[in-house]
Symmetry: C2
Subunit: 330 residues, 2 copies
Amino acid sequence: MPQFWWVNHKQTARQEIGGQYLWSPKTKSNGAPSEFYDNMRRAQPGDLVLSYADQLIRYVGRAADFAFTATKPAEFGDTGRNWNREGWYLPVFWTPLEPPVRPKDFIAVLGPLLPTRYSPIHPVTGSGFQSVYLAGIPEAVFELVVSKAALNRQALAHGGANSLTFEAVTERLDDVVERRIEADLQLEDTVKKSIILARRGQGRFRANVEAIERSCRLTGITNPSLLTASHIKPWRICSSAEERLDGMNGLMLTPDADLLFDRGFISLKDDGEVLVSPRVDRQDLRRLGFEQLAWERFGFAEAPAIWRTDVFAPPQYGYLDYHRKEVFVS
Amino acid sequence: MPQFWWVNHKQTARQEIGGQYLWSPKTKSNGAPSEFYDNMRRAQPGDLVLSYADQLIRYVGRAADFAFTATKPAEFGDTGRNWNREGWYLPVFWTPLEPPVRPKDFIAVLGPLLPTRYSPIHPVTGSGFQSVYLAGIPEAVFELVVSKAALNRQALAHGGANSLTFEAVTERLDDVVERRIEADLQLEDTVKKSIILARRGQGRFRANVEAIERSCRLTGITNPSLLTASHIKPWRICSSAEERLDGMNGLMLTPDADLLFDRGFISLKDDGEVLVSPRVDRQDLRRLGFEQLAWERFGFAEAPAIWRTDVFAPPQYGYLDYHRKEVFVS
């Protein structure tokens, strides 16, 4: 069952719609939690979103994936200067509502359907609340709005499928970071080269990780040609060359494990316990070979509650903490 | 146990040593098989190679991986104009032998140790044979040659470990192809973009494959966010935009399956039977979750001899045939 959302864009509607996403900080500028930013993480693939800006709903979107951590989009320019550097990036396939719908025009009908807490617009005047970003709405609000115009539901359901996968989206975000690194006049060429190789787990970064982690923590595989050097704190988020090349910020993983870990479907505690996201499909995990392994390792007939790998070293804790808090899909 | 080899470089010694590889055509210019080119495929990770050019052995190498299919290196320029476009690429870590060793100087001792068939040099005069490329030699020949000079065996054993993995090497080769595509004045920009996205299984190529292959043939996974669109005939080898974008030239695979298939450790017959390379480690395969799956699917206590997926469609046969002949490590 999809959930329904309403986003009040600030000055970045054009960038977010054009780029097929929503982006928000994770907390208010003062560090306090925000219901509306937290909603970014609550959104799930298939959820539907109304895009509201300048008193009009011009687009309807479908979340293509869960939100993940990404730095503020460069195309925001000065607009987002007060926002934190890191935020939630939610890939959304947007399709136009024609003509745009003006909620004020039917607020008498719409108002009573709006939630009493965290409503995105005033239930009587129909004016948008500046303080709201992503707000949950009942399905009836969504259906009433789209009934006022033409929406191509076929396009909404199937559009953007393969350009908005996690893999495709992170690849594009990584490309942006790579171009920025290439243009950085402060960095020596050899460092630049190492950082760029590190993006794909190669070169100096891999050598640094191999010195610390000898085998894949999830499969036990030691054959280097089957292992990838994966960043714990993602490459695109790291704030310095040191973080991008630090062997303590890496794990040697098989390709499946690398995907699950990057995607935030699994994480690890400092004592080596494996965390599995409640959002990952158990059948998929079994097919990828992970539950069998767990069963086999522990000799249980049922999947065990705890699946533990070797204890980590203290210099790895900070990166693991980041992964659990910002990458893991809890 | 490593095998021992001797390569007679032609005019491409500099390129092959500098680039850390050996490259040969797969057959003679007339299409006939060649013992020396076939040896490229017989070489295994860890094998040791003497590099002979201009009557001197200047380098000793260690094969970093099995050979795989790659187009003729661009840096050969005109030298290789009579060779086929496709050949065997063997990643080799080269380290110098100081001073260089001249086999003629001790041919009286060396000659009797040389093989009677396919010897790389004349056993009496010590002159190199033009017709030879990669020749097998007994360990005694190798040891005698290296005893004449200083060899850093530590460097030989451990050098190049992470820059010569299959992943790192193919990434560099793909980069060269990508730059060539970007510079191609004959291609429209939209086509270029699709071809470049296809390298990582994205964009139009992925959509084309998804229309034909719905799930991973090895795991049964259908969740698109866990699947990669993988080329059957590798992207870097394809000779046209059509081949690079053809949905018939693709499979939807999980990341582990993608690596095993790309690496040539598994292949597929037209009727869907899965072929497993005798060179892949069974324990690794089990840890990656593949043998368990086979057992489970067939309900056998032992791994079954035949593991079959759905039958392929005729337009896929040509690509599969290519994969079995040129990619599969048989």
